[in-house]
């Protein structure tokens, strides 16, 4: 009884200690995977490969971090991959037409954000379940992107712009710095701001959240818009790293992003999880895919493995939570 009372009045910070244990297990898993790969493959521990893993993980993390907030509210955003593709194609066109990378970056972020906002409107104002609404959005965006590109490929961007995705600073890839920045912002926002805590509250119990005066619809709009904007950011990194844009670049991005969120311990049922966990999730997934690559497993196996990982992650999450209760 006293335990229950303590839980009920404990400040939200107590989530952290519980989450800290979860994060610790996941870090342990990441180290184990590293150890196994270091034994199995000579090239795994090379500096080049480790930087490559970090850069790859940061790309997954950008998409997955915004998605984490959505999943914290017990929603899902299946349109992130298609959003990356559309934003990249539009941003690429703007850079080609105006020659200004800054304008292109702004357009990409805005495009992603607007798509996210539309998702939020469908979920809040039209009250369509989020996974169906964003699934419909996925196909709308896919259609728009293919129609807009009409089979063309945008290629060749200014050298300064390409530095964002492929450049180095003090020996580390620039996306890794961006990753640290957004990891910090995301963690601070979720754990240390009222809005962040309200997002947890909405996911844990939407009715209670509404009755305690949280503007649920506005927070949900914010969450989907952030998820879309992060997809827009990821599109910029992709664009600058690939130095080209095609309509199909987003197709293989959604499942890994969802996998990263779920491996990271964010519960599909809302209210539980951290942005830092998602970072570890992105790292673990990237390590597994990188390991398969190093052991010369064909890339054809990646969707199969990612699919299995998604299901395993949800199942483990449900199992540990059931035991905890």
């Amino acid at each position: 009884m006293t335990d229950i009372a303590k839980d009920a009045i404990a400040p939200p910070r107590s989530f952290l200690s519980q989450d800290a244990i979860q994060v610790f297990y996941r870090l342990l898993a990441a180290f184990l995977i590293c150890a196994v790969l270091a034994v199995l493959s000579d090239s795994f521990l090379s500096l080049g490969n480790i930087l490559n893993v970090l850069r790859q993980a940061s790309l997954t993390f950008f998409i997955a971090s915004g998605l984490t907030l959505v999943v914290l509210t017990a929603g899902l955003d299946l349109s992130v991959g298609a959003n990356v593709a559309l934003s990249a194609c539009i941003a690429g066109t703007v850079i080609h037409k105006t020659g200004s990378p800054a304008l292109g970056i702004l357009t990409g972020l805005a495009c992603g954000g607007i798509v996210g906002l539309l998702n939020g409107i469908m979920v809040t104002a039209l009250r369509i379940p989020s996974f169906i609404a964003t699934y419909g959005m996925l196909w709308v965006l896919n259609g728009l992107t293919y129609w807009y590109m009409a089979g063309e490929t945008l290629h060749g961007f200014p050298a300064g712009f390409r530095q964002i995705g492929s450049g180095y600073l003090f020996g580390l890839p620039i996306p890794v710095y961006l990753l640290l920045v957004f990891l910090g912002i995301g963690t601070l926002f979720a754990q240390r701001t009222i809005w962040g805590q309200e997002i947890y509250a909405i996911g844990a119990n939407p009715v209670a959240a509404r009755l305690s005066g949280i503007p649920v619809a506005r927070r949900l709009l914010l969450v989907y818009a952030v998820s879309g904007t992060m997809a827009g950011l990821a599109s910029i990194i992709f664009l600058s790293r690939l130095n080209s844009a095609e309509a199909d670049i987003g197709e293989s991005l959604t499942l890994p992003a969802i996998a990263a969120v779920l491996i990271g311990g964010t519960s599909l049922f809302g209210g539980v999880g951290t942005v830092f966990g998602t970072f570890i999730g992105a790292l673990i997934l990237t390590l597994v895919l990188n390991g398969m690559n190093l052991l010369s497993v064909s890339a054809n196996w990646q969707p199969l493995v990612t699919g299995i990982i998604v299901i395993l992650a949800v199942w483990l999450d449900m199992k540990t939570r059931r035991r905890a209760q």
Binding site: I128, I132, Y135, V140, G143, A150, G307, I308, I311, V314
Partner: protein, 316 residues
């Protein structure tokens, strides 16, 4: 409005306007703007092309009635289509190919049902996971290449006629009749209604909701297997991306057809009209030479509008 809430089993006639109006509007629109839309050849083309979708949308209706969803259907269809192609190529036997497709499809259906019913994983994530797995297996078994040179016995299924009616249409009609009988005239059908509406009642009646749920997903997988045969016959090959996204058209057909995503009541005739609406929409846009990308986007808009209306109705 209040009276409607009292009636426990809503009269299907009340819902006819929704999807029927959509269909009539689409047909009227494309008759006016698309040259050749109303020709017999084109209309029969629409029907034949809608057969694969019918085979996915009918089981999808049952799955959605259980408050579930199967996002893996298109990817599983791709995999079964490849299985049909590979096995019939190796054995020269259409029936063995169909058997392989059915086996693989049913296995995926059972796996989906098991993940949803026994492990309790939310359907959209469980089937998203199996989507990835089926897609991965398709790439692995085909090595990313088309499977060509399949026997005539497979290819002929799509072009043959029975009493003057194309065989795919006959297959779709038989499927519809079977689903209609299953849902409305057997106990199993009644249980499916209960799975979405009142699972507790099933348990009190001494039935296992989990087994029933697995059966419903297994039916979906098996139908993807049969549709895989049609897909291979239609393309005259197996292709590792042939059916990707078809689950979306199926969900669209179900949503437009008036099956609710939240209340556990389904309407098979509505789904059939929904399939025709999607088929007419795609065909008409094709005739006025809009690319398939625009077709995909418009189906997406169609789904969102249908779901919005569904939400309005459930709140009314």
């Amino acid at each position: 409005m209040r009276e409607a809430a009292v009636v426990s089993q809503p009269n299907p006639l009340q819902r006819i306007p929704g999807v029927a109006i959509v269909l009539v509007l689409l047909v009227a629109l494309f008759s006016a703007i698309a040259p050749g839309f109303l020709s017999v050849a084109n209309l029969s083309n629409v029907l034949v092309q809608s057969t694969i979708l019918t085979m996915l949308a009918l089981p999808m209706t049952l799955i959605i009635m259980t408050e579930g969803l199967d996002l893996s259907m298109g990817a599983v269809l791709t995999l079964t289509s490849l299985c049909v192609a590979i096995v019939s190529l190796a054995t020269k036997s259409m029936l063995l190919g169909l058997g392989a497709g059915l086996l693989v499809g049913t296995a995926f259906g059972v796996a989906n049902g098991w993940l949803v019913a026994i492990l309790g994983i939310p359907p959209f994530v469980a089937t998203l996971g199996t989507l990835g797995m089926a897609q991965g297996l398709s790439l692995i078994v085909s090595d990313g290449q088309s499977v060509v040179g399949i026997p005539h016995s497979v290819r002929d299924i799509y072009s043959a006629t029975l009493l003057g009616i194309p065989v795919p249409i006959v297959m779709a009609l038989v499927t519809y009749a079977a689903f209609h009988g299953l849902l409305y005239h057997t106990r199993f059908g009644t249980y499916i209604f209960a799975l979405g509406g009142n699972r507790e009642a099933l348990r009190y009646a001494g039935l296992s909701p989990n087994k029933l749920l697995i059966a419903v997903y297994a039916i979906g997988g098996a139908m993807a297997g049969i549709a895989g045969l049609l897909m291979t016959a239609r393309m005259n090959s197996g292709h590792p991306t042939a059916g990707l996204g078809l689950e979306f058209d199926a969900i669209a057909a179900v949503a437009v057809g008036g099956t609710s995503f939240e209340r556990g009541n389904g309407w098979l005739l509505g789904t059939l009209l929904g399939v025709l609406s999607v088929g007419v929409l795609r065909n008409g846009l094709n005739l006025i030479s809009l690319p398939s990308s625009v077709q995909v986007a418009s189906v997406g808009v169609l789904v969102i509008v249908a779901l919005f209306l569904d939400g309005l109705r459930s709140r009314a």
